[in-house]
Symmetry: D4
Subunit: 225 residues, 8 copies
């Protein structure tokens, strides 16, 4: 009925413009819409990162397409075309989690970094209720250029980490928890109100966004003045 | 106009019933209302603890009454009659604050405990952004039977403390902060969502309530089986 | 892809440090993740308490593992290894509920206390709309050293109880109700704003946390000065 | 500049239509606007009830007008013309408060009822933290045809009262309290989620609205079939 | 494990005390719990009203029990024992709805009134977007002693009705709507902030509570002085 | 049980009164209720627009009825009777979306406009993260008399568009997004707080409402002075 | 200290681009900042509309500047340069208010329209609690091309009006009210959730925005196809 | 009364540990508390940055102390000791504002950066309602290594900027606005939900925090691998 049928418009110049490839956010898109977008990527040989791709939805993609996607269920991410680029040199980013339930979000960040060629160290389950676990790993964490912290519930970990490391700390509040955790809102607000100065924050469960922020930081170094 | 003029009804049996004296919450009461309530206390020789008594309002009480009150402005508390009872023995409660702005709330708790005869140690400014400050004092904190923690903003301190001490930890979120701190709401929710098990929480800025909770805990020991 | 595969880190020194065993919070963990954590517990002969383990998820654990777990569906809790330790002496904690819908949360508290060797009396359905039900049981409640109250909706019960008993009152707001009950938020706020002094509060539906708070209180007695 | 200058339009037929006189809500109106509205009332000899009239604003009304107003500062109400009508017969409405800080709101209800010729009994300071205070007065309360309950903080009183009396219970949540009390929101929600059936609620601090609801109830009786 | 198994405690004296029978709120209760409560009712020949009984859950009750229940799916209510008592005389309560989606809530109120012997007139789909529909029925509405209004979304209907009828108006906000309707919160707040004086409000979707409020009003007439 | 069975009341004079046909909002209505309403429409030969008709519910309508409905699944709309009227002349409304996930809401607006005989141009996927996409289409957008913008997440598009076009801009915030997107609340608030003057807003996901607003605007021209 | 001192950048091409002059939003700006901005306007002979200019702040502007401003205190607006342009022909916009407290917001809209040369009719105090007041004026309202409605509290007026007039209805929720009115949030949400189709909404108290929306609508007519 | 008087504990090792000097947050501290903290700084010759120091409070500091402070009122910041260190080389950070009301927050960031020796370019009033203003400055912005964006209301600017520059973008939502702007909450949420990838966010009005984040980023470059 509309005069001009609407369809997705790829932003293929994004990497040139801001150093980041466009990702395909799959929540709220049908398998048909996803397949249509991916076919455009393949037509111009542009690799694609897929986020929020539930296992069920992945299974409903055309089988031939699914086979070309490197899919990882914990993070619900897929990579189409060329696979993850080879990470160069030593890991530059530490991806730290407070609890095992935060791993999916952390892995999304790790996968997005890998897709852009950046190596990552995952350091899990160092929540502050057992402070010794964090202290045991703090020197390893300090060896990286950027720290991403995924934490839910009260999100005390970004504050403690922010007081212990000098590099950028990117907090990813997660929706882990119940009651006042309120789908990650308390973790978000606690990270924003952090008593440790200079902690920055992205949206709840937004591992991809944290990775993009890390890439901007690493890019600024490469191209800086 | 109403047939029966309304007035305050003292709950003088409260100490017998639940081990706590009634306090006079002064916010929202006029100096005249406060004076009227205190005259009833004096008539039956019942000492009174006044909370939320702003310096301005204290100054507007009848001068003769004001002189009989032991007033402390930081905590906005007053004590009428017999003064604070003598604290017995060594301090049983540690009142810990994350920052200097939390001191008023902590002092309200300390004053309420003193009013009931319990000694207190105040340990200030040990917020987690400089973890060494807390670690330096942790053994001193552990020497108490109950820990009260006043913390605003992200309130990470109760979680860290809860993982380090075995005794009851009562968190008092404070309204310190701005933006997402939201008048103490984030501190409250972070304390309630604490990853450290068994941390309990009272209302925002409710130093008096935390003291009462500590008194219940100490009483249960005295009278327990 | 990450250099170092992430996995759970048990906090086996927790009982020594703060008197509480670590629990496994099963919401948001896959059966595989749960099984992996439990195998570590069994490797070091450390008993484990499982919370928020839905019947469906319990059924998806490896059958041989499931058999070794003492599972209770109302509370969605499981106990692995040695079963609940024998409760010593008379019940020290009263677990009180306002309505029958609050029983699951109350039972979680009771199971966690039993796991730590503490006896419990469950007193159900004494909500204040029929005050006589509470009054009939109030002397029985007073015989305990700590009272845990699970209540949803308007959570008036903690306030009324707080005015009737001298011992610590731990309110567990429950998500029972609809509309303004808002998943337990009103019960939570009502308990925090309680007009009865010294009532302490834990997160919504957090029966486990209430039990841990009670254990801290009972521990402080045992080890106190 | 607008073609047609805007001004207040009295609803003088309201009593005939719904049994209630229009009140003048003074918050947000300037003294000049109030005086202009009152002059219209006097022009048609219609008595007027003024609500939310702060002492400061009352003092800024023209002196000659102020003298004709029966002003009561605790409730911030004024009555112009003929004064409160004579209450007929025995008091039909009990206006109950949980604490002394709730008295202003309760008095607004009492004044509005008196303005419409209904007698009131004020019963103050019977909050549930000292249940004996309520129990001592419960028979007196039961002697009325409608109960209005003003309560802030956790507003447990309407629930307890609703389980003890058979007549209509109108809860007026008040903005008394701090922190989670949130300007009366918790009291409001607790009253709405009351476990006692059939408690009805009006807006926070809306003593006038509670009085109007009571008048509707009493009117329905007079004119009912 | 708990010493004393917990179970429901019927409040059989409720009708004598406050004129209302206890209802069984079925949400959050298992079919087994419901059946157990109903067997207690049958043991003492006390009829029971069941609310929030979804068709699925009703179907999972023991078949023999289900046959004895008068079930109505739109309102999700059931009546056990003697069926609805015969309504006496002409309908006393008008149950008015803004839209057809509000009918379930309105019917719950109607069923609860019928259970207590009160006749009802249902007047549907008179929302204010087509004001003529309301005006056509307003005289019929005025013939009742109490008006219950179920309205979702912006809930403008209670305000308009409150300005047109003299009798008590009980607003039941419904969860009908989306976006800012927020599960009935906007309807609730609009009803509470109504510009028509004396409108009273119950919890969202609480048709049962509105009926109980109407019963209290009708009772006060019967027993009044 | 109620004396007068309740049923839907069509507002067939709406087009005459306000220039809009009544739509049938299908969420919360059963297939039987929908069929009953449609039969009334067919009885008087009044075409009907159905909104929020999920594919599942559409499939559960009587087959013979379903066949007479022009159903479009992306927008979840159906049209009964005469089909969409023929759009007259060139498209008057541009329906613009920020991302492909907003297409369903935009299509609802387009379908509602088509139902009323207005032609539409759909312009998709011009979110501001790739500003060039919008700039490429801005002249095409400017050729219309009204612009409807559907945008979720941060809804920056209405602000940018509002600064670029002179005609009315109607923002439809969508529930696309996660975390702080909060079901469209952030998009809604961002649109309302737009720094571009004169942007107007409708409820979240309310494509139908945006279409009605556009129709009012186009009607005012036709009939204006 | 910054290399390049920051200052306001006028958007003088705005009228050409979108048909609206830029306004100076004075809240949060110091008198010095306002004077500096106005001097730029005068330098290029561009008239300026000032909004949210409190009488106190107006009085603190340089006296010589103040004299050149046409200031109106109820709306807190000022006009600099050439004064309001002469309104052309008959009033095109009706600005309707629910209560007298809404007049300030309505007047802001009227002043902004006058500044752009559009005549306005103000119709005050027609809230729905006395429906006859609205009905008496409805024909006068219908004579305009756009209706702006300012309403606080429950904002039922836009819904009722939206069902009675065919032209665009722009609702301006106002912050009038208390308690659940919540600074205009309930009025805002009620207007957005309006049961009358096609009502559009601007931010709370945003009379200026409503005027701009009306100007866009009137402009689209003038230049339309 | 407490055994151990509480006082501030400086964190002098912070620069060594995390590259940032401790700042003195003056809101909620009395002039006496501030003076006491500053005397400790002077005792160890540690320069101090003061934030949230209102002009009134600054004026109430001891006069001799005030003279040693470099105070800037728009940002409410003061610098004690050695003044701002000399900024090295070309400006590394662009501090961009959407409107002039955002300047105070932006200046706080600029002052904090200057205090740490980093040069800044302030670029003001480039909000997206007049996109040409931003486009004119975009090349200047791109010349920096980090961009800080202060924006209130709908905060569309960070999203647009994030799509135009490759370097890190730190959004500081400001409390500028009214109604749904809600003290900066909408700006905060819009920035967090930004459709431009990798935008990071700090607390509302937290210019200091944004500066610290920029310092962490610049530090990571200096010390990186």
């Amino acid at each position: 009925m509309p005069r001009q049928p609407a369809e997705a418009v790829l932003d293929l110049g994004r990497r040139k413009r801001i150093g980041l490839d466009e990702a395909v956010f799959c929540a709220g898109k049908s398998p048909a819409q996803i397949a249509s977008i991916l076919s455009k990527h393949e037509a111009v040989r542009s690799p694609a990162l897929l986020t929020r791709l539930d296992p069920d939805k992945f299974a409903r993609l055309p089988a031939s397409l699914g086979k070309r996607i490197d899919y990882e269920p914990l993070s619900r991410t897929g990579i189409l075309g060329a696979g993850p680029r080879k990470a160069r040199g030593r890991p530059l980013v530490a991806v730290v989690t407070a609890g095992t339930s935060d791993l999916g979000v952390a892995r999304e960040a790790a996968r997005a970094l890998g897709f852009h060629g950046i190596g990552v160290t995952e350091i899990a389950d160092v929540g502050v209720a057992g402070l010794w676990r964090l202290m045991k790993r703090i020197d390893a964490i300090r060896r990286h250029r950027v720290v991403i912290v995924a934490a839910g519930m009260d999100a005390a970990l970004p504050s403690v980490l922010g007081g212990l490391v000098a590099c950028p700390v990117i907090a990813v509040p997660t929706s882990v928890g119940y009651g006042v955790a309120a789908g990650g809102t308390t973790a978000l607000n606690a990270a924003l109100a952090s008593c440790a100065p200079g902690v920055v924050v992205v949206n709840i469960d937004n591992g991809y966004g944290a990775a993009c922020a890390a890439l901007r930081i690493l890019n600024t170094k490469a191209s800086g003045g």
